[in-house]
C-alpha cells in the first residue's frame, strides 16, 4: 500500500496529512542542514587541504556573535517544529465527546475487539468511513501497542489501566494493524487489519454479524450475578453503595475532601480496589474484585455503568446505548432478553 508520494505510507485518516505535513517540514529542515554541513565540509576539505607538511595556519579566535547566530537560528526553527507538532499531538490524544466507542483488549498475541453493539472480532476492526472512533484499550497480560500506520496513530495498551486513542478514517480500504510494543514470543504475529467501509456497507456488516449481547447488557447480567445489585440498586440508584446512575463523566466527592472525575480509569479502580478512593459518606464495605473478573468482563461492567442514566425508577433497562453515534442503528439493548 503506497500513496502517490514515494516512501510515504497510505494516508487514511484525518491525522495522516497533518502528521505528514510536519514530517515534510522536518525532512526539509534535515535535508537543508545536512546538505549545508556536507557542502561546507567538502569545500573546506578540498580548499584548505594541507599543501605542505610545514604549513601552520593562523589561529582564529571564536566569535560570540557567530555562535549566538548559529544557536538562535536552530533554536527558532526547533521551536516552530515543537509548537506545530505539539498542536497536532494534542488533537491526536484529545478524543471528541461524540465518538463511537470500541473496546480493545490485547492479549499475547491477539487483539480482541468488541463493538458497543455487541459484535466481537479478533485481529480485525471494521469501522465506517468518516465517523469518529474512540478506542478504549487495555490488556490481559503485558504491554502492547495498537499501531495503524495508515492512520499515523499509535498508543500503548497498558495492563491495569485504560488508554484511549481516536481516529476518523477518510478512505475505505484494508490497512495494517501492528502491535508496536515488544510483547514476547509471537510479537510479530500480533498483527491484523483495520477494514474501513462505507457507512451502508458497515451497517450491512453489523447486521450480517450476529451481535452477541451488547457489552452493556452483558454487563448488566454480571451486575446481577456478582451481587453489585444488592448495594448499588437494580438501576444503579444506590443504597448502601453510592449511586451509579448518571455517574460516568461526573465529578465524585471523595471522603477526605478531594474530588475526582468518574472516568473509565476511576470506575475500573473502584471495582478492582474499592478502598482506594472511597466516596464521601460511604464505608469501606465493598469487597475487592481483583482477580475475580476478566478484562472482558470489566469492559462490560464499564459499558453497563456508562449506560445507566438518571431515570424514572419504573424503567429497568439501560436507557441508552453507550455509543451515541450508533444509537439509532445499533440494536437496542433488551434487558433479560432470554
Amino acid at each position: 500500500m503506497q500513496s502517490w508520494v514515494p516512501f510515504i505510507p497510505d494516508s487514511a485518516s484525518t491525522f495522516s496529512w497533518k502528521v505528514d505535513a510536519v514530517y515534510f517540514y522536518l525532512s526539509g529542515v534535515t535535508l537543508f542542514f545536512t546538505l549545508l554541513i556536507s557542502a561546507v565540509l567538502v569545500f573546506f576539505v578540498l580548499r584548505y587541504r594541507r599543501r605542505s607538511p610545514y604549513e601552520i595556519p593562523r589561529p582564529i579566535a571564536g566569535s560570540h556573535k557567530l555562535e549566538t547566530l548559529w544557536s538562535v537560528i536552530p533554536f527558532v526553527i526547533a521551536m516552530t517544529i515543537f509548537g506545530w507538532s505539539a498542536k497536532v499531538y494534542f488533537e491526536q490524544y484529545s478524543a471528541p465527546q461524540n465518538a463511537m466507542e470500541v473496546y480493545v483488549v490485547g492479549k499475547q498475541w491477539m487483539w480482541k475487539i468488541q463493538h458497543s453493539t455487541g459484535q466481537r472480532e479478533i485481529n480485525e476492526l471494521h469501522v465506517p468511513v468518516g465517523k469518529k472512533i474512540k478506542l478504549i484499550m487495555t490488556t490481559e497480560d503485558v504491554i502492547h501497542d495498537f499501531f495503524v500506520p495508515a492512520f499515523r496513530m499509535k498508543a500503548d495498551v497498558v495492563p491495569g489501566k485504560y488508554t484511549t486513542q481516536w481516529f476518523e478514517a477518510t478512505k475505505t480500504g484494508t490497512y495494517h494493524l501492528f502491535c508496536a510494543e515488544y510483547c514476547g514470543m509471537n510479537h510479530s504475529g500480533m498483527i491484523g487489519s483495520v477494514v474501513v467501509m462505507e457507512s451502508r456497507e458497515f451497517d450491512n456488516w453489523l447486521s450480517g454479524n450476529i451481535a452477541n449481547t451488547t457489552p452493556a447488557v452483558a454487563g448488566q447480567q454480571l451486575y446481577q450475578t456478582l451481587g453489585c445489585v444488592s448495594c448499588h440498586g437494580a438501576n444503579g440508584e444506590g443504597g448502601r453503595g453510592p449511586t451509579l446512575a448518571g455517574l460516568f463523566g461526573r465529578q465524585v466527592q471523595l471522603a477526605g475532601g478531594q474530588s475526582v472525575p468518574a472516568n473509565e480509569e476511576y470506575i475500573r479502580e473502584s471495582i478492582l480496589n474499592p478502598q482506594a478512593k472511597l466516596v464521601d459518606g460511604f464505608g469501606p464495605i465493598m469487597p475487592t474484585f481483583q482477580g475475580q473478573i476478566s478484562e472482558d468482563q470489566l469492559v462490560q461492567l464499564l459499558a453497563f455503568i456508562k449506560s445507566l442514566q438518571v431515570q424514572n425508577p419504573q424503567q429497568s433497562a439501560p436507557a441508552a446505548s453507550p455509543a451515541p453515534s450508533r444509537a439509532t442503528t445499533g440494536p437496542t439493548p433488551q434487558p433479560n432478553s432470554k
Binding site: L26, T30, Y89, K154, E181, H187
Partner: protein, 555 residues
Amino acid sequence: MKEFEAFDLPTPSRINYINAQYGLKSWLLTKDHKRIALLYLASITFFFFLGGLYAMMIRLELLTPQGDLLQSTTYNKVFTQHGILMVFFFLIPSIPATLGNFLVPMMIGAKDLAFPRINLLSWYVYMLGGLITIYALLAGGVDTGWTFYTPFSTTFSNSYVVAAGLGIFINGFSSILTGLNFIVTIHTMRAPGMTWFRLPLFIWAHYATSLVMILGTPVIAITILLLAFERVSRVGIFDPALGGDPILFQHLFWFYSHPAVYIMILPSMGVISELIANFSRKNIFGYKFVAFSSLAIAVFGFLVWGHHMFVTSQSIYAGMIFSFLSFAVAIPSAVKVFNWTATLYKSSISYDTPMLYALGFIGLFTIGGMTGLFLASLATDVHLTDTYFVVAHFHYIMVGGALMGYLGGLHYWWPKISGRMYPEGWGRFSALVIFVGFNLTFLPQFVAGYMGMPRRYHAYPPEFQVFNVLSSAGASILGFGMLIPAIYFVWSMRYGRIAEGNPWHLPGLEWRSQSPPITENFDTTPVVTWEAYEFAPPEETEIVGKFAGELETAS
C-alpha cells in the same frame, strides 16, 4: 613552522610500560592506567564482536519476510543480546575505559589516575558483570529486549532475566568507579600550568561524561534490583497484577538510559574535537563554548527521559514539556557541529585515517541528530516510535557517532598506545568501507520506519522486504569493514612501522612522552605554558567578527 619535535623529547628509553614487566601476573595485577586501558581494550573488543555476531544473525533473518532462519524465541533473544552487549559492555565503556583511561592522565601531565587500585577494580567488576551476562546467554539467553520492560520481564518472560540483570547491575559499578576516578584526577592532578581552560576538549568531555556516570548509573542499578526483586519474590512494584505500576519502570529505566546515550556520545565528541583541531592544525573555534556545551548536554540530558514515553499513556502535558526540553538539548549539539566545521576554515587539513573518521562523524552525527528531532517532535513521534525509524536514528548516533569517534581515536593514538603505526592505506580504505556500509545499512531503515515497519519483528509484511535487503547488504559491507582494522591493528603490533614519540607533530602533552610511554608517563612532571591546540603563537591570532571586546581570545 614551530618545531614540535624540538619539545626536548627525552632520548627514548628501551623500557616502556609494555615491556617494563612480563608475565600474565604483571598484567592482571597492574595498577598502570595504560595497561588497564589495554585490558579493557581486549575485553570490549571481544564483546563488540560477539554483539556484532548477533547483529549479523538479525540481518540474515530479516533478509526474507518470513521468519525462516531462526525461531521467533531465538530471534527475540538475538536482538535482546545484541542490545545488551553493545550498550552495556561495548558502547558505555568504549572510549572512557580505553582511550580515556590511557589518555586522561597523559593529557593533563599526571603519572596515573588518582586511584590506580580502584581503576584495576573497575576492570574486574566489568569482567565479573560480563561473565555473569555470558553465563545468562549460554544458559538459555534473555528475550526481554535490552529495555527490560515490565511486566513482561518480571512476570511473563521465561528466560534468564535475573542473571542478565545481575550482570548489568554489577557492570554499572565499573562505570561509577571510572567516573569517580576521572573526576578526582581532573580536579587534583593537573600538571603545573594546566589550567581548566588549557585542558584539551577530550578532558572536558570526559569530565562531563563522568558526572553522568556517577549520577545516572545508581538509578539503573536500583531499577534492575527492583525488577529482580519483583521477579523472584513477587512483591508488587511494576506488575499491576501485584499492585505495581509498569510505567514506573519506564520512568526509572529512561532516567538512566537516556543520559546513558550521552555517556556514549560525549567522549566521542571529545575525540572529534581532538581530531578536528589536530589534523587541521587549528585551535577549536569557540573552545569555551564547546567545553561548556559538554557540561550543558550532561546536565540537560537528565531532563528529557520522558520523550521515550509519548505514547505510553504519560500525560500529554508532560509530553509537551519533555518535547520542549528535548528540542532545547539539541541546540548545544548543533552548535558543536557548527564550531567543528568553522574550525576547518582557513586551516591545513590532512587526509589521514583519523581525520576521515572525524569528517565522517560530523556528517553522520548531523543526520543522527536531525532525525532525533523527528522523535522529539510529538506528532511525528506518535507515528515513528517503536518503528525502524527509531532503530536507524539511534544507530546513527551510536555507530555513526560513538563508534566512529572511537575508531578515529583508536587510529589517532595507536602509535602512542602500541609504539607502532597502523598501515595508512588500509586505514583509509576500511574507513571508507565502514562509511559506505553503515549508510547502506541504516538509511533504508528510516524509510521502512516511516512506512510503518515496527521494530523487533521476526517476520514482516512483504512490502518492507526491499528496505531489509538493502539493509542486510549494507550490514555485510559494514561487518567486512570492521574486520579490516581488527586484523591490521593486531598485525601492526608486531610488524607495523615503529612510531616516534610525536608521529603527527602535535603540541598536546600526550605527544611529549615517548611511544609507547614509560610507566610513569613523563620523566619529569611537565610544566604547561601553552594553550590547548596552540600550533602558532597567540599573537598571530586572527579576529573574526566586529566587536573585539566580545571576542574570546585564544590566549
